[in-house]
C-alpha cells in the first residue's frame, strides 16, 4: 500500500478525536452531575420576552391636515397551561359572548391544522381588537380568570371617510410575509395596501422588548434586573402626503353615483393632489373586528369598490389621446402645424367623424373639434411617411419610433420608480404584437391599425397615466414621476419626453380652444383659462366619458384626468368634473354650487352604493 510510512498518523488522528470526545463527556459530567446551579436555573427562573409595540406613524395631507391616526384596541389572550378553575359562564358574560362561541373558538385555537403554532405554554389569541368600551367589564374581573391576559394594540382611525384606496389599510401579517421578513411575528399588524403598504418600514417603527422573569409554572416574577436590558419601542415615522384633502373630498363627492375615477397632479412636481375612484368606501370599514366581514362584502360587490380604478383601471383613451398624437406626428414629420385635411363627417372613410364642423380642418381645429379623419390622416402620413420598404421594414421602423415616442409620455409601462401601490401597465401595442396577431411582418399596414390613430383599438391607459401625460403637455416636454409622499428625492425623478418643445404651442392652443369654442365650452370657468380635451369612448354599453387637461393655460398648476364609465358624452359628464376640480384647487373654493350639486347628484350607475 502507498503511504505506508504515514500509517501511524491514523493513531494521532484517532487520539485527537478521542480526546475531544472525552473532554465533552467530562464537561457533561460537570454540568449534569457536579454543578447544581443549572438545575436551579431550570426550576426557578427563566426569561419571558414581552414585545412592546410602537405607535404607528401618523399620516398628514400636504397642508398638514391629519388623515390617519391611532386608537387603542385590546386583544384577549390565554395560556392553556395557566388556565384553571375557569368559570366559563361569567367569562362569557364579561366578554359578552355566548357559550357556544366560546367552545367553538377554543376548539379552533387548539386545532393544529388551523393553528399550527399552537402550544399550551404560549399565549394564544382568543379575541382581538376589542374597543375600550368592550374591554371595561373584563378588565375589572380579569383576576377571576387566571391564564387570561389583555394585550394592548393600536388600530387605525381616519379623520375623513375618504381616500381609502390611497391610504390603504393594515391587517394581520400573513404567513408568507413572516417568512420573508423576520421582523414580524404571528399576530402582528402590517400595511396591507396603499400608503400603509408602500411605507410600511417607515410607519411601523421598531418593536421594543421587556424582559420579565418567570418561574417554571409561568408566573411572572417581575422585571429582569430592573429593566436594564429592556429595549423601548421606537415610534413610527409620520408621513406627509401630496394629497390635498379638500380636492380629494370634492373629487369623491363629484364621482358619487358613478363608476369612474379622477387623478389630479401638480405638473411641476409630479405630486398627486387627488386620486379618487368610485365606487369607494369609508376606510374605517376595514378597521377592527368588523374588518373581515366588511372586506368580504366589498369583495363580492359587483361594482368592485376595492379596485382602485385610478391606477388599475385600463381604458382606451379615445379622443384624449389625440393631443399626444398631434405632438408625435409633428415630431416625426408626418404633419406640420399648417397641415389641413378634408373631413366628410359621418361619410368619412375609413374613419368616421362624429362631430360637426367645417372642412378642411387645420390641426388646431382638429383638436378643438376632435376630428377623427384628421388624426387618421395624420397618423397614416406619419407611419407611412417613408413608404413600406421590403417586408414592410421601413414602415415597421417608423411604427417602432411612433411607439417609443408615445411611451415617452409615461404610457404603456408602470411607473416603477413611484410609490403608488398596484398600478396597471396599460398598453401601447408593439410591432411584435401585430406581427403575431397578423401572423407575418407584412400582414398589417397603417390601415389595419387605424383605430390607434384616435386612441381606440389596442391602446390602453390608466387614468393615472393620462393625468401624467397632461403633465407632460403642461410642462412642454417632461414629467416627474407621479408620487404620493411629499419629499425632495422624488422631485429628482425627471423623465423627458421625446417631442421637442417647439411642437407644444399649437397643441396648447387647440386644447385652449376646446374650452373657448370647442367640445367643452359649456364647462368654461370665468376668470381662468383652461386647456383640455374631451373623449367619448365606445364600449359595449354606454360610452365612457373622458376629460383630460390642465389649468391655468399659462404656468399650469394642476393637470387632471376624469373618467366616468358608461355615462355618455365626455363633454357632458367628465368636463364639468374637471372644471369644478380646477376651480376648487385654483380658487380655494367652489362658487358654482348649483353645478356642483347637479354633478354630485347625477347617477349613471344605480348599483353604486354609498359606503
Amino acid at each position: 500500500m502507498i503511504n505506508d510510512e504515514l500509517q501511524n498518523r491514523r493513531t494521532v488522528i484517532a487520539i485527537i478525536m478521542s480526546v475531544i470526545i472525552v473532554i465533552y463527556i467530562l464537561r457533561l459530567f460537570t454540568i449534569q452531575i457536579i454543578e447544581t446551579k443549572y438545575k436551579e436555573g431550570a426550576d426557578s427562573n427563566a426569561f419571558l420576552k414581552k414585545t412592546q409595540y410602537p405607535p404607528r406613524g401618523l399620516i398628514y395631507d400636504r397642508k398638514h391636515n391629519l388623515l390617519v391616526y391611532n386608537k387603542p384596541a385590546y386583544d384577549i389572550t390565554f395560556i392553556t397551561r395557566e388556565v384553571h378553575d375557569l368559570d366559563t359562564m361569567s367569562l362569557c358574560r364579561a366578554l359578552n359572548i355566548d357559550k357556544a362561541y366560546f367552545i367553538k373558538r377554543m376548539s379552533e385555537i387548539k386545532d393544529r391544522r388551523r393553528n399550527p403554532g399552537y402550544s399550551s405554554y404560549t399565549p394564544q389569541l382568543f379575541m382581538n381588537q376589542l374597543s375600550s368600551a368592550d374591554i371595561a367589564p373584563i378588565q375589572q374581573s380579569l383576576y377571576k380568570f387566571p391564564g387570561f391576559y389583555i394585550q394592548i394594540r393600536t388600530l387605525r382611525e381616519y379623520t375623513y371617510p375618504i381616500a381609502a384606496h390611497v391610504l390603504g389599510s393594515i391587517g394581520e401579517v400573513s404567513q408568507r410575509r413572516i417568512e420573508k421578513d423576520p421582523y414580524y411575528t404571528m399576530g402582528d399588524y402590517c400595511g396591507r395596501d396603499g400608503i400603509e403598504y408602500t411605507y410600511e418600514k417607515q410607519l411601523r417603527g421598531e418593536k421594543g422588548v421587556e424582559i420579565l422573569l418567570r418561574d417554571a409554572k409561568g408566573r411572572i416574577k417581575g422585571k429582569y434586573e430592573n429593566g436594564k436590558d429592556d429595549i423601548s419601542p421606537k415610534a413610527g415615522e409620520n408621513l406627509t402626503l401630496t394629497l390635498d384633502i379638500n380636492l380629494q373630498r370634492l373629487a369623491e363627492t363629484l364621482l358619487r353615483g358613478k363608476v369612474g375615477s379622477v387623478v389630479a397632479i401638480e405638473p411641476k412636481t409630479g405630486e398627486i393632489l387627488a386620486m379618487a375612484t368610485s365606487p369607494t368606501f369609508d376606510p374605517n370599514l376595514l378597521v377592527g373586528r368588523q374588518r373581515s366581514k366588511n372586506y368580504y362584502e366589498l369583495l363580492k360587490d359587483p361594482t368592485k369598490p376595492l379596485m382602485n380604478r385610478a391606477t388599475q383601471g385600463q381604458y382606451s383613451p379615445g379622443s384624449s389621446f389625440k393631443t399626444l398624437q398631434a405632438l408625435v406626428c409633428q415630431q416625426m414629420g408626418g404633419i406640420t402645424e399648417h397641415t389641413m385635411y378634408a373631413c366628410n363627417g359621418p361619410q368619412s372613410s375609413p374613419v368616421k367623424c362624429t362631430h360637426h364642423h367645417g372642412s378642411p380642418v387645420s390641426l388646431v381645429n382638429a383638436i378643438e373639434q376632435s376630428c377623427n379623419p384628421y388624426f387618421w390622416n395624420a397618423f397614416k402620413a406619419t407611419i407611412e411617411k417613408d413608404g413600406y420598404g421590403t417586408k414592410n421594414a421601413i414602415f415597421r421602423k417608423n411604427y417602432d419610433e411612433w411607439v417609443e415616442r408615445i411611451k415617452s409620455f409615461g404610457l404603456g409601462e408602470k411607473f416603477t420608480d413611484s410609490d403608488i401601490y398596484e398600478q396597471a401597465r396599460g398598453y401601447i401595442p408593439t410591432q411584435k404584437f401585430y406581427n403575431k396577431v397578423y401572423k407575418s411582418v407584412t400582414g398589417w399596414r397603417a390601415l389595419t391599425i387605424r383605430s390607434n390613430s384616435i386612441g381606440q383599438g389596442e391602446i390602453m391607459a390608466t387614468p393615472l397615466q393620462l393625468a401624467n401625460a397632461m403633465c407632460v403637455i403642461a410642462n412642454t416636454g417632461y414629467y416627474i414621476t407621479p408620487h404620493l409622499l411629499k419629499n425632495d428625492t422624488m422631485l429628482q425623478k425627471v423623465h423627458r419626453c421625446e417631442v421637442e418643445k417647439k411642437y407644444f404651442p399649437i397643441v396648447y392652443e387647440g386644447m385652449w380652444k376646446v374650452f373657448e369654442s370647442g367640445t367643452a365650452r359649456a364647462s368654461k370657468l370665468e376668470g381662468i383659462e383652461m386647456c383640455g380635451k374631451t373623449g367619448t369612448v365606445q364600449t359595449h354599453g354606454k360610452d365612457h366619458a373622458f376629460f383630460v387637461g390642465f389649468a391655468p393655460k399659462d404656468n399650469p398648476k394642476i393637470a387632471i384626468a376624469v373618467i366616468v364609465e358608461n355615462a355618455g358624452f365626455g363633454s357632458t359628464y367628465a368636463a364639468p368634473i374637471f372644471s369644478l376640480l380646477a376651480e376648487q384647487y385654483l380658487k380655494g373654493k367652489v362658487e358654482r354650487n348649483e353645478l356642483q350639486e347637479k354633478v354630485s347628484n347625477t347617477v349613471t350607475n344605480s348599483n353604486v352604493k354609498k359606503r
Partner: protein
C-alpha cells in the same frame, strides 16, 4: 482485473448500524423537542418529527440508490461534480431573491418551487471527491510546502464562496480537511500552529480587558509574549538540547524584565512594549545564534516568533474589523467577558440549563420541561443535543457521544483498509467532516465553543443536512464495498 462481488457481502454493516442508530435517536429527540401533551402522533405531517420521518425514509432510499451506482463513477466525475458545485455556489450569490431568498440573514438557499436546497451542503461532498481524485494521482504527494498550494486552492474556492453567502459556519467546516491533509503527509506542525494560534487569540482577546499595574499594558499581551518565550526556551533546552543558549535567553529576559520594573519606580512605562521588545530581541538573538554559531534549526523558531507576535498585536484589530458584531458577542460570551443571558448568551445559557437539569438519568422521554417551554431556541436543529441531555441525562448523552466515537473509529479503520488512495483520502474526508461537525456543534451546546450554527450530523432536524450527510457516508460505503471487486 475485477470480479463481481455482491454488495450484500462487501457492505460495511457496522457503519450502517451506527448510522441508523443515530438517525433514529435524532428523530426521537426531534419528537421530544417539539412534543406537547396534546399534540398528534410522531408520524403527523404537521409536526417536525413527522416531516423528519419522511426525510429519513427518503434518505434511506437515497442511500440504497447510491449503493447501486458503479463505484468508478465518483472518481471519473469528481472534477465535473466539483465544477458544477462551484457554479451553483456562485449562482446562489448572484441569483435574484426569488430563487435565492435571504433566510435568517444568510443567502445560501436555492428555491425552485417546492424544492429548496443548500449548495454548501453539496460542496462538502464534491470538494472531498475532487481532493481525493487530485491527491490520489500517481505524481502527487505532499512533500514540500508547495504541494499544499493546489489542494489549498481546492478548499479555498468553495470556502470563500460560502463565506460570501454569509454562511460562515458551513464554510468553517472546510477547515476539517486539514486532518486529512495531515494523514496524507502534511507537516504536523501546521496543526500545532493552528492550535497555538487559537490559544494566543483567546488569551489576547480574553485578557485584553485586564490592565496591569496602573493601566501600563494588558495581561493578554504579556501572557501571549510569555508563552512565545516559553516555547523558545522549551525548544532550545529540550528539543535542540542547547542548554547554554536557552539559559542565556532566560537570563536576558530576567535582566530586561527586572530593569524595566526598576525603571518603573521613577518613570511609568508601558509593559506591552517591554514584552514586545524582549520578544523581538529574542528573535534577533536566535538569528545571530543560527548565523554565527552555526547552531541549526532556529529558523523555524524565529519565524514562529515573528509570525505569532504580529498575530498577537493584530488580534484585537482582526477581532473588531473582520468578525461581525454578532460573532464578536458570541465569542465574548463564550470567554465570559460579557454577561448577556437574554441576548447572545441566551441560547447557550438556556442550553446549559436544559442539559444540566437532566442530571444522571434524565427526566425521561418526552418529559423535558425546558425544551417544551421553548426556552431553547433552534432546539430541533442546532441545539438538538439539549433534548438528549435533558430527557436522557448523563448516560444518554454519553451514549450518543460514544456511538459517534465508534462511528469515527470505524471510518478510520475503513480508510486504512482501502487499496486505492482515492478511497482512503475520501474516507478521511468523511471522518474529518463528521468529526468537525460533532466537535463544533456539541462544543457549542456545552458552552465551550462559540455559537456556530452547524447541524449535528444525522441528528438535527432538516432534510438538506440529513441528505447531505447520507450521501457523504454512502458514497464511502459504496467505495469501500468495491475493495473486494478489484484484485
Amino acid at each position: 482485473m475485477s470480479r463481481n462481488v455482491s454488495i450484500k457481502y462487501s457492505l460495511d454493516r457496522t457503519t450502517i448500524i451506527f448510522y441508523v442508530l443515530l438517525v433514529v435517536m435524532g428523530w426521537l429527540s426531534i419528537y421530544g423537542a417539539s412534543y406537547d401533551f396534546d399534540q398528534p402522533g410522531i408520524f403527523s405531517w404537521d409536526q417536525r418529527a413527522g416531516k423528519q420521518f419522511v426525510w429519513i425514509l427518503t434518505a434511506f432510499g437515497l442511500g440504497g440508490m447510491l449503493l447501486l451506482v458503479d463505484y468508478r463513477v465518483y472518481n471519473f466525475f469528481a472534477y465535473v461534480i466539483y465544477g458544477i458545485t462551484l457554479l451553483l455556489l456562485a449562482f446562489t450569490i448572484v441569483a435574484p431573491s426569488s430563487i435565492a431568498p435571504d433566510i435568517k440573514g444568510s443567502h445560501s438557499w436555492l428555491v425552485f418551487g417546492p424544492i429548496s436546497f443548500q449548495p454548501a451542503e453539496l460542496a462538502k461532498i464534491s470538494t472531498a471527491l475532487a481532493l481525493s481524485k487530485f491527491m490520489s494521482a500517481y505524481n502527487y504527494r505532499i512533500r514540500t510546502w508547495k504541494d499544499l498550494i493546489p489542494i489549498g486552492l481546492f478548499v479555498f474556492v468553495p470556502f470563500s464562496l460560502i463565506v460570501l453567502q454569509k454562511e460562515t459556519g458551513s464554510a468553517l467546516v472546510f477547515i476539517s480537511f486539514l486532518l486529512m491533509f495531515y494523514r496524507e503527509g502534511m507537516n504536523g506542525i501546521i496543526l500545532l500552529l493552528m492550535v497555538f494560534a487559537i490559544i494566543l487569540f483567546v488569551l489576547v482577546i480574553r485578557f485584553s480587558i485586564v490592565p496591569i499595574l496602573d493601566n501600563q499594558g494588558t495581561l493578554g499581551i504579556l501572557l501571549a509574549m510569555g508563552i512565545i518565550l516559553a516555547i523558545q526556551f522549551f525548544y532550545a533546552y529540550f528539543i535542540c538540547k542547547n542548554k547554554k543558549e536557552a539559559l542565556y535567553l532566560l537570563g536576558g529576559i530576567v535582566f530586561i524584565g527586572g530593569a524595566s520594573l526598576l525603571t518603573n519606580i521613577w518613570y511609568k512605562i508601558n509593559f506591552n512594549y517591554v514584552a514586545l521588545g524582549i520578544v523581538l530581541l529574542s528573535a534577533i538573538y536566535w538569528t545571530i545564534t543560527e548565523l554565527f554559531f552555526r547552531l541549526k534549526n532556529y529558523w523555524l523558531i524565529v519565524l514562529i516568533t515573528i509570525g505569532s507576535t504580529l498575530f498577537c498585536f493584530s488580534a484585537d484589530y482582526l477581532f473588531e474589523k473582520v468578525l461581525e458584531p454578532h460573532q464578536q458577542i458570541r465569542i465574548k460570551v463564550l470567554l465570559n467577558m460579557e454577561d448577556d443571558p437574554t441576548g447572545a448568551g441566551y441560547n447557550v445559557n438556556q442550553s446549559k440549563i436544559a442539559i444540566g437539569s437532566g442530571g444522571f438519568l434524565g427526566k425521561g422521554f418526552l418529559n423535558g420541561t425546558q425544551t417544551k417551554l421553548k426556552y431553547v431556541p433552534e432546539q430541533d436543529t442546532d441545539f438538538i443535543f439539549c433534548t438528549v441531555g435533558e430527557e436522557h441525562g448523563f448516560w444518554g448523552s454519553t451514549l450518543v457521544l460514544v456511538i459517534y466515537w465508534l462511528l469515527l473509529m470505524r471510518l478510520l479503520k475503513i480508510a486504512e483498509r482501502q487499496r486505492e488512495a482515492f478511497n482512503r483520502i475520501y474516507a478521511y474526508c468523511v471522518a474529518s467532516i463528521l468529526f468537525f461537525h460533532l466537535m463544533v456543534n456539541i462544543g457549542m451546546v456545552l458552552g465551550i465553543m462559540p455559537v456556530i450554527g452547524i447541524p449535528l450530523p444525522f441528528f438535527s432536524y432538516g432534510g438538506s443536512s440529513l441528505w447531505g450527510f447520507t450521501i457523504l457516508l454512502f458514497i464511502l460505503l459504496r467505495l469501500d464495498a468495491s475493495r473486494l471487486e478489484r484484485i
